[in-house]
Amino acid sequence: MWRKISKRPLGLIGLIILFVIIFTAIFANYLLMHNPNKIDLRSRLQSPNLKHPFGTDRLGRDIFSRIIMGTRISLKIGLIVVAIAFPLGTIIGAIAGFAGGMIDEIIMRITDIFLSIPALILAMSIAAALGPSLNNVVIALGIVWWPWYARLIRGSVLQIKELEYIEAARAIGNSNIVIIFKHIIPNCLAPVMINATLDFGFVILSAAGLSFIGLGAQPPSPEWGAMLASSRDILREAWWAATFPGFAILITVLGFNLVGDVLRDIFEPKLRN
C-alpha cells in the first residue's frame, strides 16, 4: 500500500498536506500565537509581520491563529457530514439494491428528487430555513449528501447480490439483515470509501461557501469561509486578510482530492482511464 502511494508523487503531496492539517487540528491549542478571538482595534489590518505572520484583520485579530482554529472547525464539519451521509446513504442504498422491486423504486425515486436539485442550492435553502448556525449547516449538508452514497452503494449491491456466495449465505438460512450487513455492505465499501475521501474536500468547500454567504458560522467563529467573506471587500487595501483564509480552503480541499484520486487509482485500476 505504502509503496503504491509513494510511487505517485501527487498522492504523497496530498498525504503530507492531510497529515499537516490533521496535526494542526489536533494540536491547535498549542500552535496558537494569540487568542483567535481577541479583538485589538488599535492594531487592526497590520500586514504580515513577525508578531502576526499572516497579519491582522479589520478588528485586529491575529489571522494566523484564526486559521489554525479554523482548521479544527472545517475538519469537524467534514467529519460529521460524512459521518451522517456515509452510513445513512450506505444503509438506504443497500436496502434498495437488495430488496429490489417496489421498495427499490420508491427509495431511488426519492434519492433522484434530492439529486435533481443542485446540492449547494438545496443546502442553502435548508440552512436558511433552519436558521444561521454551523450546526444547521452540518445538518443541511448531511441531508444533501447521503443520496450520492445511496446510489453508489445500490449499484454495487446489484452486482454483488447475484454472486454465488450470497446464494450460499441464503441457503444456510441467514436472515436478510445478516446478509445485508455481514455479506453485502462490507464487500462494496471500497468505492464508497474512496468517494468519502474525495467528499471530505467538497464538504469543507461547501460549508465554507455557506458561511461565506452568511448562513453558516456566526461571529466570532474563525471559520474560513466567514473570514473570507468579511475581508473580501478590502482585498485591494489589505490583501492578506482574505488571501490566507482562501489559501487555507484551497490547500485543504486539494489535499483531500489528491489523496482521494490516488486511492481510486489503487483500488479501482479499471477506472484509471
Partner: protein, 519 residues
C-alpha cells in the same frame, strides 16, 4: 544606425502616447451623470417607498410643497411660495406657485395637493405612519386652484418640516387615476412609473441594472444641467471602486471606509465628508431577564469601549453619541453624559445585580458589515466581564420580523431622521406605543418618559421643548434602554469632474441631480 533611429522614434512615440493616456482627465460621458449604488429600488411610488435608494430618485422627479435642498437642514419653499399658520397652530394655509406643470403638461393645483396627501393616507403603507394622528382624510381643504389649507388634528410643531418628506410628493391626479386598477390608487402602475412635476422625468428602468432619468426642459425652476441621470446597480463595493477609478461611473455609494482613505489620495477622485445625523445604536430588550435589571444594563454600558469602536470600526468617520438626538438637530444636549468605559465598575455592578459569573445573551444583527463588526466587538468586550454573547445574523426582512417580535436580547439598529425635528427620533425610540412594529425594540416602559414625550410634541415654545428633550435624554442615559454607539459622517466618493455636488447631513441619501454638472 538607421535601425537605431527607427527604434528611438518608435520609443518616443510610445512614451508620448502613454503620457497622453495618463494625463487624460477629459470628462467621460459628459451628458450623463452616473451614480452607482448597491441597493435595489423596490418601488417608485412616493406614497409607498420607505427606502433611501428610492427617495434619492423620487426627490428630483417629484416636487413637494416644501423641500430640503443642498446641504441645508432647513425646510425651504418649493411648490408653495408662502404660507400662514393660524394662532392656535392648527391651521396651515399654503399658496401655490402658478407656473408649475406636471410632466404631461397639466397644471399643478391645490386639487393635486389634496389628492396626493389623501392618496398616501388611504394607501396607508410605511411612510403614512408619520402623519397618523396629525392629519386624516378630512384635514385638507381646497380654497381655490392655488390655495390649500391643512387643518391638523392636534398641535404638532414639526408638521411644517414634514412637508419636505419624500412621501409628501405631489402626484398628478389625472394620470394616476387613469392607471387605477381595483381601487389601488394607481399603486401598481406607479411602482414602476412616475407622475410628478420635478426637474427630472422618468426615462427607463431595468431592474437590477440601471434606472435612467432625463432632464425636464420645461421645468418651472432652475433646469437641471445634465441631460441624463443614471442610477447603476453594482453589488460589489470593490467593483464600484474600480469603475470609479476608470471613470465609468461618476459617483459611488458603497465604498468601504478603508478604500475611501486610499481614494482620498487618488488623482481625479474626490472624497467629500460632512458630519451627519445618521446614528447607530444597540437596543437592550428590557422585557426579558436579566436585561430587565437596571444594574445589569448599566454594567453593560460600562463594559463597552465605545471610543475604541469609533476608532477601530468607524475609522473615526463617526463621533460618539449621547442620546437619540444627534448633534446638529434641535434638542441635542451636550451636557447629557456619554457612557464611560470602566471594567471595574461594570464587574462590580454585575456582582451587585447578582450575576458575578455573568450570563448568556443573544445579539441579533442584520447582515450588514458595519453592524456585524460592532456586534463582534461588543461580544468580545462583554466576554471580559463574563457575559457570553451569541451573535445571530439574519437577512434584513427576517431580522426585522425577529426584533419586532422581541426575540432578541440585544439588537443593532441604524436610523436617520427624515425631517428636522427631534420628535421623530425621540417618540419612536422611547414611547411605549411604539414597541415592536413601531421600531422601539427595547420594550422599556417608563411613564415619566411617555408623559414628557407627549407634552414635548404638543408644545410650541422651543425653550420648553428643548428642556423636555434634555430631561428625556438624561433619563435614557440613567436607565440605559439603549447603548448609543455612533453618529456617522455622510461621505461620498466621486470624480473630480463632478461639480456643484453637495452632501446633506440629515437626508444622507440626497444627491442634487438637478444641480450637478460635469467639467
Amino acid at each position: 544606425m538607421k535601425k537605431f533611429y527607427l527604434i528611438t522614434i518608435v520609443l518616443m512615440i510610445t512614451v508620448f502616447l502613454s503620457i497622453t493616456v495618463l494625463a487624460e482627465t477629459d470628462v467621460k460621458n459628459p451628458d450623463k451623470f452616473i451614480f452607482a449604488t448597491n441597493e435595489d429600488i423596490p418601488t417608485l411610488d412616493p406614497a409607498v417607498s420607505y427606502e433611501n435608494t428610492g427617495f434619492r430618485v423620487m426627490y428630483v422627479m417629484y416636487d413637494r410643497l416644501l423641500t430640503y435642498e443642498g446641504s441645508s437642514t432647513e425646510i425651504k419653499s418649493m411648490l408653495a411660495t408662502n404660507w400662514e399658520i393660524s394662532d392656535d397652530q392648527k391651521t396651515y394655509t399654503f399658496h401655490l406657485r402658478k407656473d408649475a406643470y406636471f410632466h404631461d403638461g397639466t397644471k399643478v393645483t391645490a386639487d393635486a395637493v389634496k389628492y396626493s396627501f389623501n392618496r398616501m393616507l388611504s394607501i396607508g403603507k410605511g411612510p403614512s405612519g408619520l402623519f397618523s394622528g396629525i392629519i386624516d382624510g378630512n384635514s385638507i381643504e381646497v380654497i381655490d386652484d392655488y390655495t390649500v389649507r391643512f387643518k391638523l388634528l392636534t398641535v404638532y410643531p414639526p408638521f411644517i418640516t414634514m412637508l419636505g418628506l419624500n412621501c409628501a410628493s405631489i402626484v398628478n391626479p389625472e394620470l394616476v387615476r387613469a392607471h387605477e386598477v381595483d381601487g389601488d390608487f394607481g399603486e401598481a402602475w406607479l411602482t414602476e412609473n412616475e407622475a410628478g412635476s420635478g426637474s427630472y422625468i422618468f426615462d427607463s428602468w431595468k431592474r437590477g441594472d440601471s434606472l435612467i432619468m432625463k432632464v425636464n426642459d420645461s421645468y418651472w425652476g432652475e433646469k437641471a444641467k445634465i441631460e441624463k441621470a443614471v442610477i447603476r446597480f453594482i453589488a460589489e463595493s470593490s467593483t464600484q471602486r474600480m469603475m470609479l477609478e476608470k471613470g465609468e461611473i461618476d459617483m459611488a455609494e458603497a465604498i468601504t471606509r478603508e478604500a475611501r482613505e486610499e481614494l482620498r489620495n487618488t488623482e481625479g477622485i474626490e472624497v467629500a465628508e460632512v458630519p451627519g445625523m445618521a446614528i447607530h445604536y444597540v437596543a437592550l430588550n428590557s422585557s426579558k431577564s436579566p436585561l430587565d435589571n437596571l444594574q445589569v444594563r448599566k454594567a453593560i454600558s460600562h463594559a463597552v469601549d465605545f471610543d475604541a469602536i469609533i476608532e477601530g470600526v468607524y475609522l473615526n468617520h463617526s463621533i460618539r453619541l449621547n442620546s437619540p438626538i444627534p448633534k446638529g438637530l434641535f434638542g441635542h444636549d451636550e451636557d447629557v453624559p456619554y457612557f464611560k468605559y470602566d471594567l471595574k465598575e461594570a464587574k462590580a455592578m454585575l456582582a451587585d445585580a447578582g450575576y458575578p459569573d455573568g450570563f448568556d445573551l443573544e445579539f441579533i444583527v442584520a447582515d450588514f458589515d458595519t453592524w456585524t463588526k460592532v456586534a463582534t466587538v461588543i461580544q468580545y468586550q462583554l466576554s471580559t466581564i463574563g457575559i457570553d454573547v451569541k451573535i445571530s445574523k439574519y437577512a434584513w426582512p427576517t431580522y426585522l420580523e425577529k426584533i419586532m417580535n422581541g426575540d432578541h436580547d440585544l439588537c443593532m439598529m441604524g436610523w436617520s431622521p427624515d425631517f428636522a425635528d427631534p420628535d421623530q427620533n425621540m417618540y419612536t425610540f422611547l414611547h411605549s406605543d411604539n414597541f415592536g412594529s413601531g421600531w422601539n425594540f427595547t420594550f422599556y416602559e417608563n411613564e415619566t418618559i411617555n408623559k414628557k414625550l407627549e407634552q414635548a410634541r404638543k408644545t410650541t415654545d422651543k425653550k420648553v421643548r428643548e428642556k423636555l428633550y434634555s430631561e428625556i435624554s438624561m433619563i435614557a442615559y440613567e436607565e440605559v434602554p439603549y447603548l448609543w454607539v455612533s453618529q456617522n459622517n455622510v461621505s461620498s466618493a466621486y470624480r473630480s469632474w463632478v461639480k456643484a455636488y453637495e452632501l446633506n447631513p440629515m437626508i444622507y441619501w440626497y444627491v442634487p441631480f438637478n444641480k450637478i454638472y460635469k467639467k
